[in-house]
Every structure is written in structure tokens, then in C-alpha cells.
């Protein structure tokens, strides 16, 4: 059972970077954003998705496993914290180990920084800053039940395969529900939009 966590729903992302701006406002790393906004198919579509720390559970936090200084600690409730500045040596092992490309190194400070699920907020019962402000709900904070109540028919996934290794995460990805919109008067053919056939109204791509 997945607890109260972040759900990423790329189908809702509009690429506005409100999460990036909001992350800069987080009081535990003010002025630095820990979120990456990615464009999976640049130039072909405006699709985008935010990348936050996935708080890996099995294997537990690859970034923490490879840290020679034991600087990356995991709380009892499964939040993988950013590097403890009193221990971190800025070696970037964690950057190489993370399958999602999350940690960042501040080269000047020789310090790793990453998303800590806004622990300063979540521990007080607030949602993380990014999921709080996300205008579209591409970042959602809550339980699976709350998510499905709001978005009927969606499913979630916490398993990611990298080659033979499957990583199970504490942050989940939303899998869109099947969507069938019947067209009154019967289904029409695919429509060419910008030179590409575009499915609409229940037509299969």
C-alpha cells in the first residue's frame, strides 16, 4: 500500500515550470530548485514532465547506497533526504547512481542537493511546495484513493525497469485511464494535424 506521496501525471503537464519556481521557495534549500522539467520528444510535441526525486524503496535509494560518506540518510517514513552538508564530499557518486537523474551537485560548495519531498512542509502536514502549486495537478500529493476519486479510471505505477534491474519507488507515476469519446454520427477518419495523423474521438493511433 502506497502512503501519502507524490503522483506524477505527465498527461496533465503544461511545461509551465511552476514546480521549478515553487521548489526555489522551499525553505530547506531556498533559492535553488531541485526539480528538472523534461521534454521527452522535443521539437515534435510540446509534451513535458517534471522530474522529482522518486524516493526509491527497492533497491533502497541507490544514491544513498553508493555514498562513501554516508551523507544521504533516509527517514523512517521512507523519504530520501538530501546530502547532509556536514558529511557530503561532493564526489557525485549519487549523481551517477540515480537512475532518474535527480541529484544535483553544487560544485562551488562541493555539496549534493536534491528533492527531499519538502520535509519541512510534509512533516507539518502540508503538501510539498511543487505539488501544492502545480496548476494542473501534474504533480499530485495524497493517497491513491484521493487521486482516483479525483481522476476516475487512472492507475498508478511504482515499478521502473532499467535493463534487468527493476526499481520500486515511493513516488508513483500515473497511468492514464482508457478514454473513449464516442463521436455523434459515427467515427470519422484520423485527422492530419501538422502533417501527422492524430487520433481523436476514440480512434486508435
Amino acid at each position: 500500500m502506497l502512503g501519502r506521496t507524490i503522483f506524477i501525471d505527465p498527461g496533465r503537464c503544461i511545461g509551465c515550470q511552476a514546480c521549478v519556481s515553487a521548489c526555489r521557495e522551499c525553505d530547506s534549500h531556498r533559492g535553488k530548485s531541485m526539480i528538472h522539467l523534461d521534454y521527452p520528444d522535443e521539437g515534435h510535441t510540446v509534451a513535458s514532465l517534471p522530474t522529482v526525486c522518486m524516493h526509491c524503496e527497492d533497491p533502497v535509494a541507490p544514491c544513498a547506497e553508493v555514498c562513501p560518506a554516508e551523507a544521504i540518510l533516509i527517514t523512517a517514513d521512507g523519504v530520501v533526504q538530501e546530502a547532509d552538508p556536514t558529511r557530503c564530499i561532493g564526489c557525485a557518486n549519487c549523481v551517477n547512481a540515480c537512475p532518474f537523474g535527480v541529484p544535483k551537485i553544487d560544485l562551488e560548495a562541493k555539496l549534493q542537493m536534491k528533492c527531499n519531498l519538502c520535509y519541512d512542509r510534509t512533516s507539518y502536514g502540508l503538501a510539498p511546495m511543487c505539488a501544492t502549486v502545480c496548476p494542473t495537478g501534474a504533480l499530485f500529493y495524497g493517497t491513491v484513493e484521493e487521486l482516483q476519486a479525483e481522476r476516475p479510471g487512472v492507475d498508478v505505477s511504482t515499478l521502473f525497469a532499467f535493463g534487468d534491474t527493476v526499481v520500486s519507488t515511493g513516488v508513483a507515476m500515473v497511468v492514464p485511464g482508457e478514454r473513449q469519446t464516442p463521436v455523434p454520427g459515427g467515427t470519422l477518419n484520423l485527422i492530419e494535424v501538422n502533417g501527422r495523423p492524430t487520433p481523436g474521438n476514440g480512434a486508435r493511433a
Partner: protein, 766 residues
């Protein structure tokens, strides 16, 4: 923040519960990185027409230092990047804190006392009006002002300056929709609240990049989608909202009315009209029906450059839905037929009986924070408070009585913003006060605008940053930001919300209200401008609007603070407000019917030729706001979008980031290409937030809609050609003796197009 090592507290959560929030107690106190004393001041964002609620964080010294999401009815904690960064303006190093003045444009600015600056301003007003007549001095307001201040701009111009020449920058934004609404409904506002969108079965969005220009409104669009609504987006670009639409109609810019006429044609052909509604609640339907006969899908396909099937699809989906809605924004309004485009959308909603029901209706999305309120209370050249017409003798008498002047003293209607610039060029307007606007970036055909302003003998500008326009003025008066004063704004749903004062203005800064009242006093009209602050002005505004269509009488500051917003009309103190108009098909016309209007499509003003074969369209990007005077100075937003670009289709053979010269009949500039399939091959797109030499508005045409006088920003003829060097982005102007704020200079010279919601383009594949 402190970086001391904090031992984890095992009592925080039992192992393995993974319950991040209900952690059963608070962790070690040091998790709370910010230990300073802070208060949260509830207010709203200063930017777009959604008017999201937010808290400003104020520290122990009384300074704004941050933002906190607020669970307000409009946005439910959500904010966009502009809203999150908005607080950084308040104590920004670029803030103007001393009046600047110079006797002629050949001199540099020098700092002056308020006394000297106001004396000079008043002397110049009297000199110009004495020599050239009252109408030689004009005033331009803005729609980012609180409603109280917009009311004051209109009153100040007509009572203190006694000039007919007053207009505001909503002329570039909302007037087409306003004109159409007045013609069809007799009332000028969106018909439905945002929350109605969640109940619709078919949502049509025309000419609105909701994802970038009104990001927080997207929650309603996606909410409708979640509930099974069909989403139709009409836009030449595949915007973030168009990307997931069921039907994306990528029509040519400037062909909207042909498209909507054709949709209505199919709806008539297939018998999908609501005849009972039409018979009971409309006039003019027979004429409209006869007109759309000439717009079969094949003709629309030819004019709009889309498959004819799409017209049929849209018509069937919209026409068969029990509850359908249409929302539009500048995309169909910034045209020489802007009013007519809006009328075709109104005709579509009316013909299918989609008005005044939950999930069924019509709305226009205001661009500026107070785009709605800014046009209600007398800033516009032809309107008086309460949406009264300045040409109507009865209305004139009412307002004259409220203002304590004779009806004969009230000036007649003036001209629109762009026409005023032409009048400056001709020497008919020789002096100007500008409040809260930046025409050097926001008006089309920059060469004409610069020339017009350069002709002015005297130009004063009120602002809190030195805008490109203010940098050209004789007097610049430093005024407050939205966080240093209280007042109301009306959002896109016509919901009036209250902004609260979060901090005292910096020393030397006054409110716009104080400045206007003080100049009025020096002009001998002090008795009519005895306002202590916004609250006094609002009380007069309430009385001035009582009994009109735009009735604010029942709205008080106290009620707004209790309710979180009231939609006008609200005629009495116990009236709940009117979130939804047209219930039961009743409009504000005397006969309570929708007056349907005949619309014929005609081509845009700028003709295509072999030399200029393509279409240039302009618009906004999510990180910046309008002329960028506020947002181009905030580090985070500059980092997100440091410079403009030109969006081109891969078929033109440009590589991503390559310099492309964009040439129109009015100018040319070199911008980096953002190569993307998200735009039609025959269009290019340039965002308009930057000043000359990288201003989209140095390229656009100053052709106006004959009825609303809105410029045709959204379409002009253009060609693109390879170039060698990309034009640099100028830093925003700063007062003399100051350095440009380094954080706002991020990657200003970066040759690559910025990361935008359109991606970064591609040089590979395709």
C-alpha cells in the same frame, strides 16, 4: 538556512508506514529551516485574469520576503511561476524610490523632490492646455491597477484635466470581447464562472493558450476532461492544451469567423440547433442563418487551411452535447475583425441553446489581472463608471451629479490608445500622463509609437520600475506595487476580489491614488479628490455604479474579506452576487434577448505577397507578463525564459538556435529559431514581452478593428530568411547611478532559444 546535522527522530513515524504526512507528531524542530517570525497576509496575484489567491510572507521587520499558497476558492493553493515569483518585485533593487525628472529628452534624468516633480508636472499641464486647449493633454491608464485606481484615472482625466483623451491598455486586450458582449448581451463579462467548466460535456477553447497565459485555469480544463468532456482547441499552434485536445483545429490565424460560421452552417444543416431557445430568447437568427449558408465546410477548409472534416466534427460534438461551453481569449480578439470573431462564437453558443446553465455557456478570459474591472469604471475613452456610455445624455447627467460637476463640463468621448499615438505624431496631443502601462513594448508598430511619444512636449509616467516607456519620459513618479496598497480587482469570471496591503511602501514612494489626488489639488480640483485611500475611492465607486448594469453597490471590503470574492452585479448589501449570467436565457438588453449579429469573414489587414508569404502571430509565454516590465527583472523568470525566439516549422530547413531574420513591412529583427512541429508550416510565432530591438511589436501592424479599435497583433504578413547574428536582448532600464540587477541578466546573450513550454526545438529527425 542552517546546515547542522539533525539526528532523525524515530518517534516521527513507525518504520515502514511510509506515511509521509500523517507522521504522528512533528519531527525535530530543526526541520523547520525558517525560524524567523513571519505573518501571512492574504491577497491575490497581481498578474493575470485568474486572480489566484496567495499569502505574502512578511517578516518581523514588516518586509515581504516570500509567498505561501492559499486555499482560495479560485485556485485552491495552485500558482503559476509568475505568481510564485511575484513577491520578488516588492523589495527589488530596481524599484524607483525617488521622482526622476528632466526638462528635455536631451538631458539625463536627475533625482527630484516630490514637490519639484509635481510642480513641474502641473506647470506643464497648465502650459500645454493653456496654449493648445484642454484636449492637447491626454492620459493613459492600465488594467493592472486596482479598480479604485481605474475609476480614479477616468475621473481625474475628465474632472481634473478636463480632457476627452483618456484611454487604457485594456484597449490592447479586452475591447473586442467587450464590444461583442455589449452587442449581443448588453452586458460585458463572461457568462459563467470557471467552476461551470467542470460540468460541461464539450469544452471549446478558441485562441487561448490556457496552459501558458492562464495556467491555473488549466485545472478546470483538465477537470472537465477527467469527467469525460470532449476538448476542442482552435489555435494555429499546438499549445500544451491543444496537445491533449480531442480535436485540435490548427487553422490559419485570422480566419476564425469563417471557421465558426462554417461550424454553425453544419449545425444548421444537421438540425442540431435549439429552435425553442432561438424562438424565445433571440433576435436576428434568420439573418445569421442566411449568412452561414454561404460557409459550407469546404469553403472554411480553403480559407482556414484545415480538413473540412474537422468542421463537421466540431459541429457534431458541440451541437449534440447537452451542455457545451466556449471560452476564448486574445487569439480571436486581436484582429481587425476581433469583435466579429467573438460574435461568431456567441452565435454558436446561442444557436445551440448553450447559455446560462451549469456547464453550458460562454466566457472570455481576461488577460490582465484587472482586465475585467479595468474596463468597467471609466478608464475607457467612451465609458463612464458603471459601464455607462459617455455619449448617452442620461448617463452623463448621472455621473456629473455624482462628481459634482455640470453635465456640460463633462468631456465627450475620446480616442483609443493607438489613435492617441497617431494624434501625438500629428501634434494634436502634446502632453501625456501614463499610469501603469508600457506602450513602447505593448503597442504594435514600435517605430510609430516611439515617434509619437518623441513628439510629446511633456510626458509623465507613474510606475514602480523604470519601464522602457518611462525611460523616455520627462517625469517619472515612483508609486507602489500591488502589495503596498489595498484595493479590489475583478477576475475573468467578474468575481471581485480584495487585495490587501502586506507592507509599507519604501520611503519616498507614494500610492497612485495619492499622486492623482495631489495633482488634482494643485489643479484646483482638490475638493473633488478628497480621498484618503482606496477605501474612500471604493465607496464612491460603489455609489457611482449603483443601479447600472455593472452594479458594485452591494460589495464592500468587509464582505469581500468574508466571502473570498463576489461576482457583480451585486445591487444590495444582502445580495449574494451573480456568478452565472443569462439564466433562463435572459440577457441585459431591454428585451432580455440575445441580439445575434451577422458576421462575414474578411481577410486580415496586412496583405500577403510573394515578398511576405507567411503569417506572423504573436503571444505570450508562461514566464513573462505583457510588456515584461515586471517579469523581465525577476531572476527565476528570466532564467526560465531569458529572451524571445521565433518558432518555425522544420520544413523551412532551419536548425534549432540558428539566427533567423523575421521581416515584415514595418521592421525586421534576428531571433534564434525554435524549430518545432507544434506550429503550422505557414506561420511563425514570436512572443512579445521584450523591447526593441527584439520586440515582436516592432514587426506587428497597427491596423485596428473598426469597432473596438484593438490592434491586429495576431496576424501580419512576414518572411523569414537566414541571418548571421542574433539581436541581443537589452537589459531593463534602471534609474541613473544604478547597475542593472545581475540576477536578471541571466543568459541574456545565450544564442539558443530558451526552454519554453514549446520545448527547446530540435535539429535532429524530421
Amino acid at each position: 538556512m542552517s546546515h547542522e546535522h539533525v539526528p532523525l527522530d524515530p518517534s516521527v513515524a513507525p518504520l515502514g508506514t511510509r506515511n509521509f504526512r500523517d507522521a504522528g507528531g512533528l519531527p525535530a524542530a530543526a526541520w523547520r529551516a525558517d525560524q524567523t517570525e513571519q505573518t501571512l497576509v492574504p491577497t491575490h496575484c497581481c498578474f493575470c485574469g485568474v486572480q489566484c489567491g496567495m499569502y505574502l510572507r512578511v517578516d518581523g521587520r514588516g518586509k515581504v520576503f516570500g509567498v505561501e499558497p492559499r486555499n482560495h476558492d479560485i485556485n485552491r493553493m495552485r500558482l503559476c511561476p509568475k505568481g510564485i515569483n511575484a513577491y520578488q518585485q516588492v523589495n527589488h533593487p530596481d524599484r524607483l524610490t525617488v521622482p526622476l525628472m528632466r526638462r528635455s529628452r536631451d538631458e539625463p534624468f536627475r533625482e527630484a523632490s516630490w514637490e519639484e516633480a509635481l510642480d513641474f508636472t502641473v506647470a506643464e499641464i497648465q502650459r500645454i492646455q493653456g496654449a493648445q486647449g484642454r484636449d492637447a493633454f491626454g492620459m493613459l491608464g492600465g488594467a493592472s491597477l486596482f479598480s479604485e485606481k481605474t475609476y480614479l484615472v477616468g475621473k481625474f482625466a475628465r474632472v481634473a484635466l478636463k480632457t476627452r483623451h483618456v484611454d487604457y491598455n485594456g484597449r490592447l486586450c479586452m475591447v473586442s470581447a467587450a464590444g461583442a458582449n455589449k452587442l449581443a448581451f448588453g452586458i460585458d463579462r463572461a457568462g459563467n464562472p470557471f467552476s461551470d467548466i467542470l460540468q460541461t460535456q464539450c469544452l471549446l477553447i478558441a485562441g487561448s493558450n490556457v496552459g501558458e497565459c492562464f495556467p491555473v485555469m488549466t485545472q478546470y480544463v483538465w477537470g472537465a476532461r477527467d469527467r469525460g468532456a470532449t476538448l476542442i482547441v482552435v489555435d494555429p499552434r499546438e499549445t500544451a492544451v491543444a496537445r491533449t485536445a480531442d480535436i485540435h483545429v490548427a487553422l490559419k490565424s485570422g480566419t476564425d469567423s469563417a471557421f465558426f460560421n462554417a461550424v454553425l452552417h453544419v449545425i444548421v444543416e444537421e438540425g442540431l440547433t435549439d429552435e425553442a431557445f432561438l424562438a424565445e430568447h433571440t433576435t436576428g437568427w434568420e439573418e445569421v442563418k442566411a449568412t452561414v449558408k454561404a460557409y459550407p465546410p469546404a469553403r472554411a477548409a480553403e480559407i482556414c487551411g484545415i480538413p473540412a472534416e474537422q468542421v463537421v466534427q466540431v459541429a457534431r460534438v458541440f451541437g449534440t452535447a447537452d451542455r457545451a461551453m466556449a471560452w476564448h481569449a486574445r487569439g480571436i480578439e486581436h484582429h481587425t475583425q476581433g469583435v466579429e470573431n467573438c460574435l461568431t462564437v456567441i452565435n454558436l453558443c446561442t444557436a445551440t441553446g448553450n447559455l446560462g446553465r451549469p456547464g453550458a455557456g460562454y466566457g472570455t478570459i481576461t488577460g490582465q489581472g484587472n482586465g475585467q474591472g479595468g474596463r468597467e469604471h471609466g478608464q475607457k475613452s467612451d465609458l463612464l463608471p458603471g459601464g455607462r456610455s459617455i455619449n448617452d445624455p442620461a448617463h452623463r447627467r448621472q455621473v456629473a451629479a455624482i462628481w459634482g460637476i455640470e453635465e456640460s463640463e463633462l468631456p465627450q468621448a475620446g480616442t483609443s490608445m493607438m489613435e492617441m499615438v497617431w494624434q501625438m505624431q500629428r501634434g494634436e496631443i502634446r502632453g501625456l500622463i501614463g499610469v501603469c502601462n508600457n506602450p513602447f513594448v505593448s503597442l504594435p508598430n514600435y517605430a510609430v509609437v516611439k515617434d509619437g511619444y518623441d513628439q510629446l512636449e511633456f510626458h509623465a509616467q507613474l510606475d514602480f520600475f523604470l519601464s522602457e516607456t518611462a525611460a523616455n519620459a520627462h517625469v517619472v513618479l515612483p508609486v507602489t506595487t500591488w502589495a503596498e496598497d489595498e484595493g479590489v480587482m475583478a477576475n475573468a469570471e467578474a468575481r471581485v476580489v480584495k487585495h490587501n496591503k502586506a507592507q509599507e511602501p519604501p520611503p519616498g514612494v507614494r500610492t497612485d491614488t495619492w499622486v492623482m489626488c495631489e495633482i488634482a489639488r494643485r489643479l484646483g480640483q482638490g475638493g473633488k479628490f478628497a480621498f484618503e485611500g482606496s477605501r474612500d475611492v471604493f465607496d464612491e465607486l460603489r455609489r457611482a455604479s449603483a443601479g447600472t448594469v455593472i452594479d458594485y453597490y452591494g460589495i464592500t471590503y468587509e464582505r469581500l474579506e468574508e466571502t473570498g470574492g463576489i461576482a457583480w452585479p451585486c445591487p444590495s448589501l444582502d445580495h449574494p452576487g451573480t456568478p452565472r449570467l443569462f439564466e433562463g436565457g435572459k440577457t441585459s438588453h431591454p428585451d432580455q434577448k440575445v441580439h445575434m449579429q451577422v458576421v462575414e469573414w474578411h481577410p486580415p489587414a496586412d496583405p500577403y505577397s510573394d515578398e511576405y508569404p507567411m503569417t506572423l502571430t504573436t503571444g505570450r509565454t508562461v514566464a513573462h507578463f505583457l510588456s515584461g516590465n515586471q517579469t523581465r527583472r525577476l531572476g527565476g523568470l528570466v532564467e526560465q525564459t531569458p529572451r524571445p525566439w521565433v518558432e518555425v516549422h522544420p520544413s523551412h530547413g532551419f536548425r534549432n538556435g540558428e539566427p533567423v531574420r523575421v521581416v515584415t513591412r514595418r521592421g525586421s529583427e534576428v531571433l534564434p529559431a525554435l524549430v518545432t512541429e507544434a506550429i503550422r508550416p505557414d506561420h511563425v510565432f514570436v512572443p512579445y514581452h521584450w523591447p526593441y530591438p527584439v520586440a515582436a511589436n516592432a514587426l506587428t501592424i497597427d491596423a485596428l478593428d473598426p469597432r473596438s479599435k484593438i490592434p491586429e497583433y495576431k496576424v501580419c504578413a512576414v518572411r523569414i530568411e537566414p541571418a548571421r547574428e542574433i539581436d541581443p536582448v537589452p537589459a531593463p532600464p534602471v534609474p541613473p547611478g544604478r547597475e542593472a540587477y545581475p540576477e536578471a541578466q541571466v543568459s541574456r546573450t545565450d544564442p539558443l532559444p530558451p526552454t519554453s513550454p514549446q520545448g527547446r526545438g530540435t535539429a535532429e529527425r524530421g
